[in-house]
Symmetry: D2
Subunit: 338 residues, 4 copies
């Protein structure tokens, strides 16, 4: 931590800060500059947000952290890449993994028909929401437990692994019993109670970045899960909120190399939510693979115009098949396999 003093700070101000730095358990080191002094506070600052409060002291201009705040999620802690196994599917390994399926599980025909279609096209994990976080309390909220049962039936028939979202702690056990991978959605990325509860269960976790979550905060959210003992965490970029309205969100592919630089965890990309328009899904899927993503999450619906949710961004089975064909040469260019 570096404490920058104001140009007008007095010697007394400086001494008081030095003393407080020592009280907090750090070793202060003063550099007296031509315009102002700075104090380096030596010691492991991670998890010690309290130093930041020194900005409230007289004469202090700002407090600048030096270390990244995450530990278990960092590449310094674990330099080798993590491979997360979901049933027999490995995420973060040689293969680019494609998860596909409808936004919501709506009924048996819909989920079975979709499951068969995405399996045939090459997906290895089936996505589908049984519990849906909806902006409106009047909108379809998912089939709940019945939705889980239908997902299990689809797995039974197709052999696809299942990822589905959990919205509250009380449902974690129920979801964990059926799902092969538990999803924490964008709106819950800083629902710390849920992160901890899911981390206790031990099932692989798919953690989606929130729409206003910085990459540092995203890794801190992963740290919550990891620190409960669940190391199988996959990060998912799904679009951030910006001023641009031509797309529903702004899919931030930069996050892929940035996350790969700072963390050992696998990273996948959801171009369906990220762009919000089915026409942009395939080009952005290709781009995600090109910049190093370990996988994709894609919404597929058998009749998008009648979807209970997110129809605009869903691909029809035939379009999804084409997506799988079109991404193939990019997967190969990335030195990987589908």
């Amino acid at each position: 931590m570096i404490i920058v003093m104001k140009g007008t700070a007095t010697e007394t101000d400086l001494q008081r800060v030095i003393q407080t730095v020592e009280e907090l358990g750090y070793q202060p080191h003063v550099i007296r500059g031509t315009q102002r002094s700075v104090i380096g506070a030596i010691g492991d600052e991670r998890g010690k947000a309290r130093l930041q409060s020194l900005e409230a002291m007289p004469g202090v201009e700002s407090v600048v952290p030096i270390l990244q705040p995450f530990k278990l999620a960092s590449r310094e802690f674990k330099p080798t890449r993590t491979v997360v196994k979901v049933r027999d599917v490995e995420i973060g390994g040689d293969r680019v993994v494609v998860m596909a399926g409808p936004c919501s599980v709506e009924n048996e025909d819909q989920i079975l028909e979709t499951a068969r279609a995405v399996k045939e096209a090459g997906a290895t994990i089936l996505r589908g929401g049984a519990f849906k976080p909806r902006t409106s309390p009047y909108a379809f909220q998912g089939l709940g437990e019945e939705g889980l049962r239908l997902l299990a039936a689809a797995r039974e028939e197709t052999g696809l692994a299942i990822v589905t979202e959990v919205l509250k702690s009380e449902d974690v056990d129920m979801v964990a019993e059926i799902a092969d991978m538990i999803q924490i959605g964008a709106r819950n990325v800083q629902n710390f109670a849920l992160l901890k509860r899911v981390g206790e269960v031990g099932k692989p976790v798919l953690l989606k970045r929130g729409m206003a979550t910085t990459i540092q905060e995203f890794l801190m959210a992963a740290e919550y899960v990891l620190s409960e003992g669940t190391y199988d965490v996959v990060l998912c970029e799904r679009g951030i909120r910006t001023f641009e309205t031509a797309t529903r969100f702004t899919l931030d592919l930069n996050a892929v190399p940035v996350l790969k630089k700072h963390s050992h965890l696998p990273v996948i990309v959801d171009p369906s939510h990220g762009t919000g328009h089915w026409e942009y899904v395939t080009p952005m899927a290709k781009a995600a693979i090109a910049c190093g993503a370990d996988g994709l999450m894609v919404e597929v619906h058998i009749r998008p115009e009648m979807a209970m949710s997110d129809g605009v961004q869903s691909l029809k089975p035939a379009t999804f098949r084409r997506l799988m064909q079109e991404i193939a040469p990019f997967v190969e260019a990335a030195g990987r396999k589908l």
Copy 2:
């Protein structure tokens, strides 16, 4: 809902859309323009996000909603302003209500000393976190139940009403038993399970806007609470995330008149989180009152530089006293009382 067709849409495309609009229970009305056609879908579209999915149909360029999606929170539904009563304090009435206290309850001396100080300066509600949502799993997470007990003790001594945050459904009953007002924090504004659970309890709710929550989504979050039968909801603007880094967040005071235009619910402002720097709290508190806020939420700490959290944005008791004096003429200018 207005469905805008592409310039290249065929008559068949148009007819199919018309038919689907009818299937979904709306009455279609076509306007044939010089460049393209548009279809007005007449019927109550609120809560019916499904029409949006028509964007997936061939020949459709975009689907534009006409009605705001909230009902119970809207001024159309209830034209008179709501006054929320928290013990004997009325929020949304003649008086500008000031809630003050530390970010976290840290120990008995700290909360009692702070409570006495803010009461003496004129605050009528004590804030203080027993359960803290922290970005880092290694940071202080609050005293929990013991914190609630200390808040109750502070109320006992000072007569101040208490507002405190709840993080998870399992804790709602425990918090509701002691708190006079339950706070839902910015990170949980779209934790729909928590919103519903809190709405069931019937205690007054303080709902904070999320850092990337649009005003429409914010009112939809309130709608979740209202639709469970709790009508005592106070909205709190506390800063949104933008590119600007000179302040921790960008306190969006525009939200005050916008919320007042669309909703009957009281609106307060938190300039402490909104700016993240104690020096900006007083000027922005004045501005909040000037643009119509019904109250303020201000962080006060007896020794900010040693605070377990958010020290930089906390006022010392003496500075808070000055804030109360300095806002007084603006409260009067606004035709209200403290």
Copy 3:
């Protein structure tokens, strides 16, 4: 400047950075921490963006600037507040100055009628665009030189001072000859050639913040004008671009106390462009005054629904008169006069 080394940096990496710091004319000062080393580079770093390039060296994690980059605009350079005189109107002194008028000068009747109305209501400076920056090349681009002539006629009749925008260097002399204050619009805040050219002329300058300009960049833009010898610069907050669409821009009133803290220049606020809706102009005008603004810029049009530009955010003369009445108590609460 603080150079933070990576945890994996070698002693050789460190020595090379030290050597380069010296080559660039700074005195290096090393702090060896438990996790990594940091180097303080002592010397006046302002204007020396080159140190930032050290981030490209092996073993360097980041380079953190310590000093704010502006000089002439800073309060460290000039602790007393600047008062800018536009004809006989003082901006930054005891009085809150109100500039009002139409977005565009459209014709003689319109500008004269508006000038009389705003003068009568209490405005002291007339705004009006002769040269208009329009998003569309097909939109009305302003009356140009004829517009300037009409503004002069309005000044002649009413005695109001005139502020008007200049879009290109070639027009600066023509505008300067007639206008009492030259406006640089939001879209030109980083048109450095124009900033310099306007700075050479010596007339008072009204500099509007860009929609994506940080406060630091905004003060650097002012620095361009100041460094050409024009010290009469007034800063104007007019809304930034965020994800929120309920307002046209997000008027960032936080900028007022932040600018006041870092700079001696006067600060005014434009709630018309900042919100984009006439209904929000008056509440935000009050808020601007409450948080310390030295003045307002307000759009007034005699028939907004027929305006050539920006009708939605324009006040009618009667509404403007009411705004002037309604802000009066807030001006007084702020210890100032109209």
Copy 4:
């Protein structure tokens, strides 16, 4: 244009709007809904921002434009893709074009050495700034005319075409005389005077998206150039401003498919400015090609740590050579050539 009336609008309000719509030259068409009425205004609305001002009328809730405002830049106007020829290099055709070179031309050795290196690695256009837009007036502002002369010398020796930025109208002729392609930088994307002046000259134009420019505004900026008769315009995505600080800007690759959908103009990507860190340049270059970009603009410097500007994001010649090798399979996967 669709005019949405308020639920509380009276019949008189409605009739007045209808009358005004007619006065403005449109044909009104009323749909009376269950909750409110809407009026479709039929006629070519492009370039007629004036309809928007109807929002100021009593009883009007909002005015919703239906048509995109650009004409010449749109695919509706010109369905076939435009190929821009810069000397003998075709942008928008089969080949992915790579422009590379230093941020600033610093001296003869630097530009010649860099030109040779990027040519050898496979670039076909040399970039380099002679006139530099710098945030600080104290920073290096470019070599000016001497810089142009050095670029010409580099072309002479290597045969590379030259693209360089122009900052003001007065310099356009001078730059046009030497450059093969004129660049308009991000900060000038809405400097409409400069756009028009450059459009008059007829040289190919490289137009960079501003950091807060929506895609619609970006195409309107292109429209300014096109409407002056210059059809050879290449669009360049270079990062937008968001809350994320892990990258300097947020490179918005979504813009590539969105621009391709709406416009016939070629689109290239600048991952150097877009990310601000050399380590992220290569992955994002691959992603740009994968989602359909027609080319790249990459900063290369022979000694980044000593660069006068933007060293952090510049590649060394060896790294650039590696980039060219690494993108090759992605270019092929995209069905194109280098």
